[in-house]
Amino acid sequence: MIYNNEVCKRRKAKFNSIKNHPYFGFVILTLLMLAVQFARVLGVDVPITILRAFGLTMIYIIIALGFSILLGYAGLASLGTAGFVGVGTYIIGYMTNSLGTSIFLILLITIVGAIIIGAIVGFISLRIEGMYLAIITLGLSQILNEVFKNATVFTNGTNGLNLDGIVIFNKLIQINHNAIFVVLAVFMLFIMILTLNIMKSPTGRALLAMRNSESAAQAMGISIFKYRMLAFIVATVYALLGGVFYMSYISFSIPTTWSLAFSLNILAAVIVGGSQSIYGIVLGTFMIFGLNLAVLNQIQFFVDNPAISIVFNGALIIVVIIYYPGGLIRLVNTTVYKLKTKIKLWKKRRKEYIYGSDSE
């Protein structure tokens, strides 16, 4: 067979253009998730806890991506995430159980509700800034939590709300976790692509300018009002959709879940991973939620002493923030870069060893 150099080159160029495409990593991540699910369906012995951990982590990635636009791009710290996610869970819970609304209508209502909530919080953020905003949104989250506890008609109070199933075209269907996992993975891919497009668009650059200096951004003609509103609306839409998915995957929601600790964990995931990079957020979410759910729960030592895994998580957060302020993704990037340069050097030396040095 004749080795056709031209075709080979063309193939290589094509592969490179796919490999360097910004969505490549997202698709690979989604395919990995789907592979775990299909392996389970096909009969490979994947522990159910690991599968659930991956599903939950994907939901948290969706929520954290919205938060990263808020914190990493707009520079607004919010502690209200838990309340917003809770609203999402109760919207689907109440509407399916009591009204029998179709899931598509529920998604639409959720998005509209999220836009309204986001606009309210965005309006608040125009007057209050920095640490104050974080605490005020915490107050808002507390108000929502009180509503979850006391509005027993909608939320079943402190006993928690069970989801009966999902209504598709006027038909109540029992929840199939495998199907929801697949939908979730595809939806996560969609959200990742959407977020990347927001980040790399003029909107993202305007948000970054606002984060770095508000006065300078205003001087360049960026409307603070518009972009703050936008950042909060995006974050709340992601959070409420995350809530809808959480409810349809776990099918149980209780007010104590939507407490300060949840908001702090999302914040920790974004900070630990690196607040401006999508891969960073994926990494951070795995560190904060996935590691605990998927890895530590499999090791007998940590199952026997659940307290130690909490300590480990806390210590990890502290160490990462003190020694790698840019997030874990920066550590990964620098390590990969160093390895690449080392491999290049090694290859060059090897060539010199075989063929002799150029300089002679």
Binding site: R127, S309, V311
Partner: protein, 373 residues
Amino acid sequence: MPNTEGFWELVILFVLVLVVVFFLINTLILRKLKNKSKIQSILINVFLALGLLFLFYRIHQIFPEEFNPTGIMLQSIVNSVVNSCVLALATTGIVLIFKTSNTTNFSQGMIATVGAYVAATFILSFATELVELGNFTIVFLAMIVGAVTAFILGILIDVLIIRRAKVITSVGKQMITMGLVLVFAGSIPLVFGTIPLPIPKLSYAPNISFTLFGNLLSITSHGFYSLIISITLLVVLFSALRFTKWGLGVRATASSEVVAGMMGVNTRIITAMSWGIAGLLGGVAAVILTPSITIAGVSMMVPTQVNGFMAAILGSFSSFAGPLVASILIPILNGLLSFVVGLWKNAVVYLIILIIVLVKPMGLFGKKIAKKV
């Protein structure tokens, strides 16, 4: 017993009237004055006070005459004394740390919880040997032990962790304190066991009765002693802030850490001491709080923590007196509103705080700091 029909209509109407009057005054009179913003700020405070007074008046009104409404209101204020003390101590700690380290300390509650656990363990192990000293002395000794532990813990946290994080943004520091919460939440069961520990009340003497404005009121002896201890601590702390070199250092560090350092203030010791004292205040608060929730658990201080943040926002982080006033006000409002809205009292209180902060973003007593661009 109270008849709450038509309660909120009048309150909201009154608030709306206040808003309209404020806008009229603002547009017609204040426009021509020179120091407009100062008068505006005072005016808003006066109007807010009027609104709150009207709220109290309405609560007073809804009780039927035969129940002696003034007495019930005063009694409910007296009942909230333990909560007010706890919140005042915790909030002062949070504000102290915010001033010197420029971060909101989420681990304040957890440091306090460790103090409470140490105190409870102390009581469990030495109660039989010290039984002749009496209940008050034992609990007081335990309180001192717990507070000193929390003090040392606070200093250790600053020296070992926060000091190394000088360059990190305030959100990053916030996350460090959050990581500390996780570390403590995990290590408390490891050290003290998973069973929550009880702490006895400071005193089991019968309630102390006294007369105020012709109403017979009674305060639990535990509340009375807590009040005395808290007032003593806060008076000592505030006079230290006002009159000692340490207080001057804290105020200098609060206004600018770099400049304070240049002027010869040892900001390291100031910050470490602030963390320690915040821990001490929290420890005392936790020991006072534990009997009213019967046992010391890992998450015992979380509501106090959240309320402390709200009080600090309401009173403004830029002063020490403001958060103190707010932290006394919040439990009183909570107690009074429970007559009107029952279970929804927390939500209503948070909503009121939210609205006040929206009107005055720097808090009730805060000054707007002009920033150089």
